[in-house]
Symmetry: C2
Subunit: 259 residues, 2 copies
DNA sequence: CGGTTTTAACTTGTATATTAGATATTGCGA
DNA sequence: TCGCAATATCTAATATACAAGTTAAAACCG
């Protein structure tokens, strides 16, 4: 590199210099992320698999294996795993191994409480702000839920369920609260995959949804939040028996006999 | 790679084989993370600098520059930046640059609401569970706050402030809620750095803290949460004037004239 | 001199190589 | 057979190298 064959005079060394405190000006800022990075894709895939309990807690995840299996290098795999580690979906043990995270028992009641608090707030705000168009959108989602209940197709119900909650948050202009709910909800979702679901429950839940929307339409904050409360509290996990049945999937960091 | 010069007979290929669904058994699991990884250190440093507004929104962050300055490779720097990106503290524009994130205006009211909801929940639970020892610990923190108020040392007050809220969450056995609060609080904290603080305010806040603790000691959920509400709502940011004064530090993704 | 094109230097994204630590197996000695 | 030490081979952590894309300044042209 020390050769003297520079085409002309050395071009004054400093070329591109961005002014300090200059936000990006180029067009890349507006790109719609047409191509997801490999790391992003891998992250989404792994996230989905872990939350769906397709990969069970405790399962070793090898960066090398995944990289080889997906035909990419370790770097994007690693970046995906680090993100999952921040979300407590994998446990990285330095120099030793990476494992699908076991579910910390203590996180489950806390998650339920946090979710309840956030969704109540969201529901109240939605009841205050909802327009006629918003109500139409909500009822559309509910009708799609009823359609799924009819067909009995299990897989898609929770997606539309989430869609409703997301829409309520959007109406409340509190989308970021729904993002938080989604985060805390993941461990609960993983638990739910461990239990068989009452087939009549989906119908029951949809009716609950409808009642919430009724109250939002009426602008009755109190009633709407009460109904949302009932809806969320309706999901009760039998922790002790679950932990007993699948001890390897949990971190028993809480006394289950206590409150 | 196709050579046939394997040293001996291939040693039965499979050696170390970890049983499926086997959580880690080694001692590394219990290591107290004696040595923080470079990535972790860099993350903490950058996080601190950004939240303290030592690095202003819009400032370009070059992975190469940081790596060179710290005498490490790009890899740990990159991992730190990716984490900050997940927390919305930096904006990464692919193939273009990385910048200290501007503050999304819409996130601020939402953060306030989320924080309020979570801390109310925490305070109620703490009022139910607090023991005599817990109250002693809380009062100790408050006395340290008063000490800081006396000296007028600005820098450490917010640390002890956070300590109190963290302790309340710990008493409530809802530490994870405090973790969530800390996350949403960061953008608010960055804003607060932009405004001069009333020197009498610290004293006022400490009195509020004391009143909250009084209510917790009395086991009065209602009163405690009411006082916590007042305490949290006492912090009002004058968004319009802040955005006007520092337009480059904000993303104006919300109509400030509306509610 | 103004507008356009070229181009080189900068960016992050990904791939590969090296390093250092953890651990299950192995082999040895009692 | 049991306990223990040696070691091979796994792991994640870090370093380096390369590729693909962006952008601002320089070169060119009118």
């Amino acid at each position: 590199m020390m050769d003297g064959s520079k085409p002309k005079v050395s071009t004054k060394s400093k070329r591109r210099q961005r002014a300090p405190n200059a936000p990006p000006t180029g067009e890349a800022m507006f790109a719609q992320r047409a191509v997801k990075s490999l790391a992003e894709t891998l992250y989404q895939d792994l996230h989905k698999s872990i939350v769906a309990m397709d990969i069970l807690p405790g399962t070793p995840l090898s960066e090398n294996e995944i990289a080889a299996a997906m035909g990419v290098s370790r770097t994007p795999v690693r970046e995906a795993i680090l993100r999952l580690s921040d979300e407590k979906l994998v446990e990285v043990v330095p120099k030793s191994g990476t494992f699908v995270a076991r579910i910390p028992v203590s996180a489950l009641p806390a998650a339920q409480i946090a979710r309840r608090a956030l969704e109540i707030e969201t529901t109240c705000a939605a009841a205050r702000r909802a327009t006629k168009e918003d109500i139409v959108a909500l009822r559309d989602i509910i009708s799609r839920q009823y359609a799924i209940v009819e067909t009995g197709d299990n897989s898609d119900y929770h997606v539309v369920d989430d869609e409703l909650h997301a829409k309520i948050a959007e109406i409340a202009r509190l989308g970021s609260l729904w993002d938080m709910v989604q985060q805390v909800k993941t461990q609960i979702d993983r638990c739910r995959k461990l239990t068989l679901h009452d087939p009549g429950r989906k119908s029951f839940v949809t009716v609950q949804h409808e009642k919430v929307v009724d109250a939002i339409e009426a602008g009755d904050e109190e009633l709407a939040s009460q109904r949302m409360w009932d809806h969320i509290m309706g999901l009760q996990l039998d922790l002790p028996s679950m932990v007993q049945e699948y001890p390897n999937y949990f971190i028993p960091d809480m006394d289950l006999t206590a409150t």
